[in-house]
Every structure is written in C-alpha cells, then in structure tokens.
Symmetry: C2
Subunit: 460 residues, 2 copies
C-alpha cells in the first residue's frame, strides 16, 4: 500500500514549517527537543521505535542492564512535546528537489513525507573495512539486536564449554576476542573479564570460568588513543590487571566460525582459536550519506560521512542538515556529545531562519570530556584539562551516566542493577532466548563444519 | 561431536546415586532443591539456560517486566547446591532399558547421560488442537521467546496503526484477539486494555489507542471456570468494565495473517479482522510423554500427558517419575503448584528408597489456591474456602508473586516495575528489536499478500 497522503502531510493544512528528522538517536532526539518551543511541525522518522543510549550497550550485552533501560520508546520520551510526531520507517530515499523523503515500514507500508527543513541524523553502523563477511562471525555493537545477540553468544559460550569433553574445544569456547580498543572495546573486554572472574565461577562444575582468555586487539599502538598518553597507559595497566591480553599493532585479516586470523606487530600471521568474536573497530555512516552526496554533489569521507558546511548544512542545500555520526566536520569524533550538540545546532539554525535572523553560524563543539569504565570502581576520564583515573574516574562515570540516562525510572533501576553488579557479583539480565542459543547461524555453521569434518575423516 | 564420556558420567567414579532431571521449570527446579541435603549426584538437562517463572510471562509480553526478572539462569539459582550440575540440552531420547538419556545441544554437540533415578519435568507447549498452522499467526505464551515475540507484535501494532491512512487497515492493527479465557488469557487481555487506556494514549498523534478493540474468546461458557461461579462472574464484570469484549461459547476455526474465523454460540461462522492474535487456549505435554509411553507401555491422555502411578512414577518403572504439566493424575490442573509439589514428591520418593524406606506413597496435592489479576488493583483469588476479589484479591496476588519470584534482587526490581506500571502509567520494557519489527514472518506475509492484491487490481 502506498501512502500518497502521508501522515506527516496532514499538518500541511495549517502551513506551519515542517521539520523532518531522520533518526531517533542522540542527534535526532536532541534536535527535536531543541524545537519544543517553536511553532513548527516536527516529524521523526526512525528505523526503531526506541531511542538508544548507545554508550551502555555493552552492559546489555554482558547482562547488567535490561534493554528497556537503555532503549525507551521515542514517542514516550516525546509524548508531552505536542509538536512532534514519531513515525516508524526505514528511509530509503531523499529527494532534495521535491523536498520529500520516502520510508519503508513493516507489513509493506511505504510512505512519503514532505519537509521544509530536514535534519539527517541516521547515525552509523559497524564497518568491517571491506570485509562484510566478518559480520556473521563477529557481531558489532551498534543496536539492541547486536547487544542481545552478543549476550546470547557470551553466556552461551560458557554453557557450551561446560558440555565439551574435548579440552581444545572447551578452550575455544572460553576464548573471547574483542576487536577494537576504543571505549566500547575496552569496556566490553573489561566486563567479560568481570563476568569470568566474579560472576560465573561458582555457577559451573566442570569448567572454571576464570580460565577464560580475553583478548583485546587493535591495529593502533595504544588503547583509548583519544584519551592521551597518561590515561591510555593507566587503562592498559588496568586491563592487564584484569587478566586481559592486549595485543596492539595487530590487524585482523580473517574471521571464521571457530577463529580469527591476525597479523601482529612483527608482521607474523597467526590464528587465534575462538568461538566468540566481538567487533568494536570501525564505523561506517548510514548509506543515506552516499545518497545525499549523489543528490547534492557533496563529498563524503572514507567512512561515508558527508562533508558539511561549517553550520552542519549540506552544501548547496541550506535547508538540509547532516549531524552526528553522519557528519564529517573538523575531524570531530563520532561520540554522543557531538551528535547531541550538532543536532541542537541544526535545530537552532532552523529556528533562526524562521525568526528572520541570519544563519550560517559555524558549529562549535564544546568537548565535555570523555570517559571509559574498565572494571567496577575504575574508570578513566578526561574532562577539560583534568585527567581522572581509578575510583575518582569511576564516580564521575557513574554520575554522568545516571544523569544522561533518559527517564527517572530508568535511572533508578539502572542504579539498582549497578549496585547488584558492582557491589554484589550478580548479573540480573542473563536470559538467552531459545532462538538465540539454538538457531544461531554461527552454531549451525559449526555443526555443519564438524559434520563435514567427521564425514571426511570417516571416509578416509 | 559425540560425547561418549558424558559430563554427567564423570560422577560415576564415586558411585553415588545419579538423579537425572529433565527440565528446569517449576517441577525440575523444586525436585533438584528437594535433593539438596542428599548424598546424590543431580544433573539437570534443560532446553533453556534459565528457569522460567511462567505465571508472569504476560507481563514481559506487555512491557512491565524485563525477561531477566522472570527468567534467571538456572545454574545461578542452584550455584550453592554443590550436588547439582546443570547442562544445556534438548532431550531427544530416553532409553528406559539402558537408563540413559540423549540430548542435543547447539553447535552439533550431542551427549548421553546415565541415571539411576529419572525425573521427567519437560512441561508443556501450546496446543492448537490439531491446527498447528495457527501458531505462525497466533503465538502462544509458553516461553521467553513467545513473550518477546508478542511484545514486538503488540507494541508494533500500535506503531503501524499510526502509519495507516486506510481506516480499515488501522482498525485491523488496533484489534487484539486473545484466545482462551483461563488465567493467562484473562491477564493478557486485561494488560492490553491497560496499555491501550492508560499507557499509550498520549504517545500517538493520529490514532487514539483507547479506540483499540480487545476481544477475549473461549469455547467454554465462562471465564476462569476453575475459579467457581462467583469469581467467574466478578471477573467477567471486571473485564467488561475494562472495555474488553468477551465472547464465550466461541470456537476458533481459522487463523490467518489479517484475521480470525470463529463459530459463535449460535453456530454462526464469522470473521474478525485483526493483525494481533494471542493463543492462550490449550496445552500439549512435551513429546517426551509419547516417547516414555512407547518405551513403557504407559498410556497418555488427550493432551499427551503420561498416566502415572499414584506416586508419580512411570508404570513398570519405579525409578522414573513424570511430574508437572507432563503428568496425568487425578485430573490435576497444569499449574505451578502441581509442578512444584509433584517434583518435590518425586524427589522424596527417591530419597526414601535410598534410605531403605518403603516407597509408593501417593502424591497428595495441597491446593494453595489460584489467582488471576485482571487489571491494576483488581484480582480474583480462590484460596481454600476463601474467595477474594477486587483490591483485597490484588494485594494477595502481589504478596504471593513477590514471595515466589526467584531471587531477592528480582523481587526488588519487579516491585519497582509494578510501582511504575500500576501507580504510574509507564511501561519500562517496551523495546522492540529491529528483527522483531522488520523481519517478522507475519508482516512479510502481509506485504506479499498486499503486493499480490495490488498487482491483481492493477492488471485488471
């Protein structure tokens, strides 16, 4: 069914300025909020019905938080803002000439929404640097789907190791490789270590989860390079203390169901036998970036991000803004704060034009700092000229994340879950679905390969 | 890989009595717990790594609780009970002669476990009364997978109704049919009504969630028939007050992606247009029941449950017990309390034999009562000769469920979530994965049908 009279076009009757926002992440949500007092019709079109608090995704993957706590419904967050409507849809086309956007929704619903101003905040997905075939074996950390898939794989690996009689196979299940030593990778590796050393030991009878090997790989010469030398060194020391094997200068050249192939700093190629691979390495901007570039002639960078004007607008299209992870501007990093502030800046530019004020003010990023928690009670934080590590860094991490979590009740339950996980040893959210554990591609693949190997050895 | 030296057989060296339990539901878990002081080796083989608190599954489906709260890891519950080991596996064969059980695990792992005593507590799945093709369109309410699937369908239906421009299509998305007016069906219908009337109204701009139609169908002449006439009437009145259309004497004869066909009390066949169908009608015992019956000559009833001896043992096999939803004995209902008590009884029989005491004591069920909550602040409860309804019934429901939830922290967070949902209007757990909303079979089916219809109308 094709909706020619699209839901968002109904608002057209009153001829208010129509702002269309693509995406409900940090960029899109904060752009919408910044328009709350304006006499405009805001429409958000997003591929998920939730806003995702991505910095805590690793905690869903490792059983600390439930998905509801970091992914509340977007329309619930914005229910009191009556000038916003939220539509579920995967944007497949942006027509810059007719100023319309076409989206695809489930059940064959397609619709077109017109706009006067457009904010594109569709974010980024994981990049495998041209090796998309790695994705099947090494899921990324970009969506709730990813986090739940990884939760199933991580807890499932211990379950299956417990069943193995072959020590080599058990070891393969107990080896976890995290690729990418940025904040996400460091936090993920740290939490798997906490799981193996604090949460799981008493739960098993045959295996000792403390025997798990956790490897953190990166092609760069340091972990958390963006935090500066001092914090990077502290983080590395903390990772070592957790028993994590950090391999720097190491590039991944192959991934399959039972292992990973790397080239290390000495140029040697070798294989690591591991069933659980987690990809936290590169990002690629939404394909809408390419689409906008084709339509406008704007350039994109290596990660597919759109090179925007200093005020975040699309070259030649002052009515279109590209923000957050999709925007290439002044080498700004792909972090939540950039998305929030650029979304707000775009909204501000639209407001100024509506009020007849001059636009074109360049986007100025206020770096509020960055932080990464490595284990309980220990984090590194870089705020302005301040460099914090250890317990002090962790307290700051705790305060900032509680502050930024959306919704009072999510803050309360998250605080409670943190209490349980950090003071205690438990993980409240370990549930694996039957589908995750029994129907996973990787496991079926392994089964097939094992069967083929068995058959081959028997026919010999 | 075939494990001839199975994990559970290692314990054989010390020649302790081996108790094997199939299933980690109420029957299996409480049987294992009842053996905590005995000098035996207990092995639990289960298809999920969690114990499921099934009576609250409908709250996961309607966004009140997270899956972790009602499905904690079995090995975590039993971690301090050192005579128990937990193995993940789907039992595919029970050999009563050699006293071994064969299980299938993910990744092609197959293993065989020997036993001296066996407790079969594999539970039941949904029965579609010979119409398994209904399952695709009308998921049951038996597993975490079911609950998350239904969560996606229920919240997704409102999302998609918001996109529809065709009023008939929107109405179809806003019609919810629950089949089966036992406790699960009544509680489910009640919670969808609460969602439509209290949680969602402010969230949407085009549709009014209060316009949702909620139908509760049953072939029987009453809702909650097992609660007796007085409570049944009270429950019916309460359901009507919530705006739920209750259609009794009504049998479902067809289910497809866009509707349901029923034959009502007057014998009239008619169609109800609805995208969201929930099956809470019949149960069928695990196929292991049939397997045991073939192996032992024991009879099974219409639901596939095994007709056991008065002490829950399999006829001719005093070392094998069948408990809970798989057991057919004295017309006992398929409720948690029967599973718990029969599991404990089986464990007691095993203990008596080990201690050289006579066995064969018949299982005596102590009915602790039953209860169903219809909406916030209102439940019906039948305890002994007491019949409670309204707020008093609800207080009892609250107390009992908090008491029986496994784990202190789950009690705390569940209480918090209940506070949020019952005193407030929120639902903390509304998250739908991309896969649920975009890749659902039903929705793809609809898309295909719509496309075919469109094509047919265009070619005319």
């Amino acid at each position: 069914m094709d909706h020619l009279m699209s839901p968002a076009d109904e608002g057209r009757q009153n001829s208010r300025h129509r702002v269309l926002i693509i995406g409900s992440g940090f960029g899109g949500l904060f752009a919408a909020k910044a328009l709350r007092r304006e006499d405009v019709d805001v429409t958000i079109v997003a591929r998920t019905s939730h806003h995702l608090f991505q910095p805590l995704l690793y905690q869903v993957a490792t059983g600390i938080l439930s998905e509801g706590e970091i992914a509340p419904a977007t329309r619930e967050i914005l229910r009191r803002q009556r000038n916003v409507r939220t539509l579920l849809g995967d944007v497949v086309d942006v027509d810059l000439d007719s100023r319309t956007v076409t989206a695809l929704a489930p059940a064959g619903i397609t619709y077109t929404v017109g706009y006067d101003s457009l904010i594109v905040a569709a974010g980024a997905s994981q990049s495998y640097f041209g090796h998309d075939e790695f994705a099947e074996h090494a899921p990324g950390m970009k969506s709730i789907d990813d986090a739940l898939e990884l939760r199933g794989r991580i807890f499932g690996a211990f379950e299956l190791a417990e069943l193995e009689t072959d020590p080599a196979a058990a070891e393969r299940w107990l080896t976890f490789v995290v690729v990418g030593a940025g904040p996400t990778g460091v936090e993920m590796a740290g939490q798997i270590a906490e799981l193996a050393h604090r949460t799981l030991p008493g739960d098993f009878r045959r295996i000792d989860p403390r025997q798990a090997r956790i490897l953190l790989l990166d092609g760069a010469p340091a972990v958390l390079p963006s935090f500066g030398d001092r914090l990077s060194t502290k983080a590395l020391r903390q990772l070592h203390r957790l028993g994590i094997e950090v391999e720097l200068h190491t590039t991944v050249v192959g991934v399959d169901s039972t292992g990973i192939e790397v080239v290390d700093g000495t140029g040697t190629r070798r294989r690591i036998e591991t069933m659980t691979k987690i990809w936290a390495a590169g990002v690629a901007a939404s394909p809408l970036g390419k689409l906008l570039s084709l339509g406008s002639g704007a350039e994109t960078d290596r990660a597919g991000r759109v090179m925007v004007e200093p005020n975040c607008s699309l070259p030649g299209h002052p009515e279109v803004f590209v923000v957050g992870d999709m925007m290439s501007l002044n080498r700004l990093p792909g972090v939540a704060q950039v998305a929030i502030q650029s979304g707000q800046h775009a909204a501000g530019q639209i407001t100024r034009r509506l009020h007849g004020k001059p636009t074109g003010q360049p986007f100025q990023y206020h770096d509020k700092g960055s932080m990464a928690t490595i284990s309980r009670f220990s984090a590194v934080a870089s705020v302005g000229k301040m460099r914090l590590s250890g317990f002090l860094g962790w307290m700051l991490w705790l305060a900032v994340h509680l502050l930024y979590l959306v919704g009072f009740k999510n803050r309360v339950t998250a605080a409670l879950h943190w209490f349980v996980s950090f003071i205690g040893r438990g993980r409240s959210q370990r549930t694996i679905t039957i589908q995750q554990i029994f129907a996973r591609t990787i496991l079926q693949k392994v089964a097939q390969e094992e069967a083929a190997r068995l058959e081959a050895s028997q026919s010999r």
